[in-house]
Amino acid sequence: MNYSAKVMDHFTNPRNVGEIEDADGIGEVGNAKCGDIMKMYLKIEGNVITDCKFKTFGCGAAVATSSMATEMIKGRTIDEALQLTNRAVMEALDGLPPVKIHCSVLAEQAVKAALWDYYTKQGVDPEPIVGKVPDMEEE
């Protein structure tokens, strides 16, 4: 498996690992059976994601894509976070091996799952805003 230097950097030194105690939105996608779980924590003030942390069970690409996704949405607005695509995460990591593209999809979905949870907690129907999130674990 030939990972780019950026993937290896984000794998060996993942950014924003951990949990947020009083998170405003928590999303989890994937499952242990398939070997990938990503859990994303968001702190949101007004319309801005002020903090973002993650925990991932999975391969090197799964860790790197979740790490990169947190960097790409931290300090951004919710709208900007909703625009985050798996392709953008992949490009930011200088590409992924073809068999690992699904990891970047999971990272995109983890962000969306956390925003889904945020809107649910706000009493707002998330589906019209976030759209369906295929691999989400609902609490």
Partner: protein
């Protein structure tokens, strides 16, 4: 502790040894002749191959005429299985017996034959990764053409009762093939005493180069030609011989088989120290039988982490190893070998295989035992699966094959 570099993947491949390389070198330039040529430059290489064939045969207890050089283990397996199938189908024998945890070179060949009208029985293995000769005997039918059971498993290192399985096959007049790719140089092999009719081996697993192997075919069994063409390998496998590879294979198998008792004596205590040390980590399991096991094989599942990230992190610390996780197998499912032991996916994903050669030292073992717990702790700290296991008191069950919620 200072960073060390430890190659712990000998079951994948090994380096060509100095002694092997030195024997091979003259055959690239000085002795470049085609063994089929009439002049001395060719004849000297023909003699070298005759000599190499005898050397390989001697190491297996075979006759030189029973040794056929191939390009490696997969080719030998394919030839043996498809060859016997082709030969015996004409006599109405269209049943093959194998096991669920064979190498893919055997499994995929059997699946191919199923598409061509053969029936295949895939014997299950015990939770320890062993096959009982009684299972083989019970599966043999009137129309059984072949039994093919691996000598030692490439992932979990379990060694099968090959002589006993061979005896069962002999009793019932069924041809017995074994993929001994992982066994050569680790286990004493005598094809006659162990009732083996056909045996596959691969040079690069014991310090010969990649791309050279052999198939032992007992006298009296005639397989169809694998490659049609010239008269090489008794006309069975045409094509100008890989002379340096053949010379290298002969030297490598001599060294490997001469060294078995010393290797076992050196590696067994180191392997056991590693197994005991790694099993001290909470929520781990040893995969494969403790006793009937290759002296250089350690295979442990570490729950809550995923195999590929474990390998990458170990590589970062200088330890090169292997895993049976889905991500490293290149498919959605973890290794069929681990699943055959009854492991659920969640337990199989966190597997680690360490396989060693004789250069392993006590210092290497100490370094590995110091590094693995650190790496596991780091990966578990970022694992939502581990987090859930802690919060909900989910643990390995009694036989450590699946995860269960323990009541407080």
């Amino acid at each position: 502790m200072e960073k060390r570099y430890i190659y712990a993947d000998h079951a994948a491949t090994t380096a060509v040894s100095d002694a092997v390389l030195q024997e091979m070198l003259p055959y690239f330039q000085q002795h470049f002749g085609n063994p089929s040529s009439i002049y001395e430059k060719g004849r000297e290489n023909e003699r070298a191959i005759i000599d190499a064939r005898a050397r390989v045969a001697k190491c297996l207890g075979a006759d030189p005429k029973e040794i056929f050089f191939t390009a490696g283990g997969s080719e030998s397996d394919n030839w043996a299985i498809k060859g016997v199938a082709d030969k015996l189908a004409a006599k109405g024998k269209k049943h093959i017996i194998t096991s669920v945890f064979e190498h893919h070179a055997v499994l995929h060949t059997c699946e191919f034959l199923e598409k061509h009208g053969f029936e295949v029985t895939y014997l299950p293995v015990s939770p320890q990764g062993l096959i009982d000769p009684k299972q083989v005997e019970d599966a043999i039918r009137e129309d059984t053409a072949l039994v093919t059971i691996m000598y030692a498993n490439n992932e979990i290192g379990t060694i099968q009762p090959i002589a006993e399985i061979g005896a069962v096959c002999k009793k019932h007049g069924v041809i017995f093939h074994t993929d001994a790719v992982q066994a050569v140089g680790n286990v004493e092999i005598d094809v006659k005493a162990q009732n083996i009719d056909m045996l596959s081996l691969s040079g690069h697993k014991f310090h010969a180069p990649k791309g050279i192997g052999a198939l032992y075919i007992r006298k009296g069994i005639t397989l169809p030609n694998l490659i049609h063409g010239g008269g090489q390998e008794s006309g069975k496998r045409a094509g100008t011989e890989n002379v340096p590879g053949i010379i290298g294979l002969a030297k490598a198998i001599e060294d490997a088989t001469a060294n078995i008792p010393a290797k076992i004596a050196h590696l067994t205590p180191l392997r056991d120290k590693l197994i005991e040390g790694i099993l001290k980590i909470d929520q781990t399991r040893l995969n494969g039988d403790r006793e009937h096991r290759l002296c250089g094989n350690v295979n442990i599942s570490i729950v809550g982490i995923e195999g590929e990230s474990l390998l990458l992190m170990l590589d970062y610390f200088g330890i090169q190893a292997s895993s049976g996780s889905a991500c490293t197998s290149g498919s959605l499912d973890p290794s069929h070998v681990l699943l055959s032991l009854g492991l659920v996916h969640e337990v199989a994903h966190g597997s680690l295989r360490l396989s060693f050669g004789e250069e392993l030292t006590e210092e290497d073992v100490d370094y590995i035992l110091e590094t693995i717990p650190q790496v596991v702790e780091r990966l578990r700290a970022m694992s939502p699966m581990w987090e859930r296991m802690q919060k909900e008191n989910i643990r390995l069950n009694a036989d450590k094959t699946r995860l269960v919620k323990e009541e407080a």
